[in-house]
């Protein structure tokens, strides 16, 4: 069950030109957290920005009660967040959402992330590695400098492949290009993916005719983060007049099965 609490900021550091790493002490939240869930964060303390910002759990540690968020400075909310100092308290709600469904883990698993969207996958990878699963990790970024946790991933027993849009490292191009290449040579049973909506849309034709269970973590603008306001909805296929119903990304998601959601409608 999620809680609202004042977390202590243990660190809030710039890790590259655009991204920050926020370390919080939030034992009550960590206790309940699973990979793929997010926190709803009051970035500042005043009227600007008014609403909270959803930020995924990048990693967490059950023993220390520490939780890490990676975030990109985008607009008003993340700009103000970047100014917060360690030692300060920050108002957070979490853990929110369902996270990845790990109940039916398959054999050949791929974890795929693009841009800052790759952030929440680290907790998932930690979990899968802990379960001694064979995991291939595909990570995309604009440039080498923006790749997260590369050194950490290289130490883990995972099959790591990297794409950069500017070609500065690994596969030159989008991570979805790397995905297509990868699926030509290897078979997968299960993919966990996280990234910007255009990336998720670009995945669709590539995985369309394959028999892979794909879980996608979606993003949508949020109000409440509790399932009350209905602002964060996405379309889920159902057999009714319209052919869909709206589900809430915050509490019904943020992870959905690729074959149940309609991404570009």
């Amino acid at each position: 069950m999620p809680v609202q609490m004042k977390g202590k900021i243990l660190a809030n550091k710039k890790i590259n030109a655009t991204d920050y790493k926020l370390v919080l002490s939030v034992p009550e939240i960590v206790e309940e957290t699973n990979p793929g869930q997010f926190l709803h964060v009051k970035c500042g303390t005043g009227l600007e920005p008014l609403l909270r910002r959803p930020l995924s759990v990048h990693r967490y540690n059950d023993e220390t009660g520490e939780l890490v968020i990676l975030y990109r400075v985008f607009g008003k909310g993340t700009e103000i967040l970047a100014k917060r100092q360690s030692g300060e308290e920050i108002d957070v709600m979490g853990p929110i959402g369902n996270g990845f469904d790990l109940n039916n883990l398959k054999e050949k698993i791929m974890v795929l992330g693009g841009g800052i969207g790759a952030a929440p996958l680290m907790a998932l990878i930690d979990e899968l590695v802990g379960l001694e699963k064979e995991v291939t990790v595909l990570i995309g970024a604009n440039q080498k400098e923006e790749l997260f946790c590369q050194s950490r991933l290289e130490e883990l027993p995972v099959n790591l492949k990297v794409a950069t849009t500017d070609g500065s490292y690994g596969y030159p191009g989008y991570v979805t290009g790397l995905l297509a290449e990868e699926l030509e040579t290897s078979d997968y049973d299960q993919i966990f993916a996280c990234g910007p909506t255009p990336m998720l849309i670009a995945m669709e034709p590539i995985i369309a005719d394959k028999d892979i269970e794909v879980q996608l973590s979606l993003e949508e603008r949020m109000g409440c983060g509790t399932g009350a306001c209905l602002s964060c909805v996405c379309k889920v296929k159902v057999e009714n007049e319209e052919g869909f119903e709206y589900k809430k990304v915050c509490t019904d998601g943020p992870v959905f099965k690729a074959d149940e959601v309609i991404l570009n409608g």
Partner: protein, 305 residues
């Protein structure tokens, strides 16, 4: 503190305290059960309910503005039958009063909603949302014209003994005119304000941010307009008012009470601070004790000089 009386009685609607949550901002109550002791709330005004389920608008449905939030949810809701059969049984045992916010396109639809809800167990009052477009009158909202507003209230009143709250739209030239019309038509209580109509354009895409183009503006930005309207309506009708619009904390609640509201509802602030209603109830109690009041009602309307 046991001498303090937070109880309020609004023309037939009794609340254990004057703190409610505004329609559309608190779901059906249970969405907030992890953050709030729901049993301590005076009332929950549930999400706007229609005869048939409504899918709502495409996204984006929400945007931020200075001190405010724009929303265009489009009344997404599971329909009144689902509400009565599935949701109501889950929430009726809480101590809060369940107030059902109803929306229709015709007076006939309001009547039908009323008849159905009148028989349901656990509904404390109906909140008649007259900001919806009247399909017969070319989409002009019921709440913008005194006669249309009155016709809806009458349709509801004739079909129930439940207390009726009529929720006014602020997007009108003279809110007292509408208030007087719905009082005359038999509403027991008036709630105000609903959202102001606003919009925002994204200068990158050069297009309106909300998929619906326009949306409803809520949050602290609109509080001065809400307080003014409560103040004006308090001078023009004799029935109790439920004030809302930009309430963020207990100081704002007191401002609405001084303006003439007998109870209040918290909306957008729930998104920002899910525990806000609990803080408000505690602080309101403290305020009354510290300032020597015996009951909330003593504050109501004191701001009128």
């Amino acid at each position: 503190m046991d001498n303090i009386n937070l109880n309020v009685e609004l023309n037939g609607l009794e609340l254990q305290n004057p703190i409610m949550t505004a329609s559309g901002t608190f779901g059906f109550g249970e969405e907030y059960k992890d953050y709030v002791d729901l049993n301590r709330l005076g009332g929950v005004m549930v999400k706007g309910t229609t005869i048939k389920p409504k899918a709502g608008n495409p996204t984006p449905r929400i945007a931020e503005t200075p001190g405010g939030v724009l929303n265009a949810i489009g009344l997404q809701n599971p329909g009144v039958d689902h509400f009565i059969n599935v949701i109501l049984p889950k929430i009726r045992d809480y101590n809060f009063k369940t107030i059902v916010n109803i929306s229709g396109n015709t007076a006939e639809e309001y009547k039908e909603l009323t008849t159905k809800l009148n028989e349901a167990e656990g509904v404390a009052a109906l909140e008649v949302n007259i900001s919806c477009p009247n399909v017969k009158k070319g989409g002009l909202a019921f709440g913008t014209e005194p006669k249309m507003a009155a016709s809806v209230v009458e349709a509801v009143k004739e079909n129930t003994d439940l207390p009726i709250i009529t929720k006014l739209s602020p997007n009108v030239t003279d809110i007292t005119e509408i208030a007087e019309a719905v009082e005359e038509a038999g509403t027991d209580i008036i709630s105000l304000i609903n959202t102001l109509i606003g919009m925002k354009i994204d200068i990158e895409t050069q297009q309106p941010i909300l998929a619906n183009t326009i949306g409803g503006l809520s949050g602290p930005a609109i509080r001065p307009v809400a307080v003014r309207m409560v103040y004006q309506v308090a001078q023009s009708v004799d029935i109790p008012l439920i004030g809302m619009g930009g309430i963020m904390n207990s100081r704002d609640v007191i401002e609405f009470l001084l303006a003439g509201a007998s109870a209040i509802a918290v909306g957008t602030a729930n998104f920002i601070n899910p525990g806000v209603t609990m803080e408000i109830i505690d602080e309101l109690e403290e305020y009354l004790v510290e300032n020597g009041y015996d009951s909330v009602q003593e504050l109501v309307g004191l701001g009128h000089r």
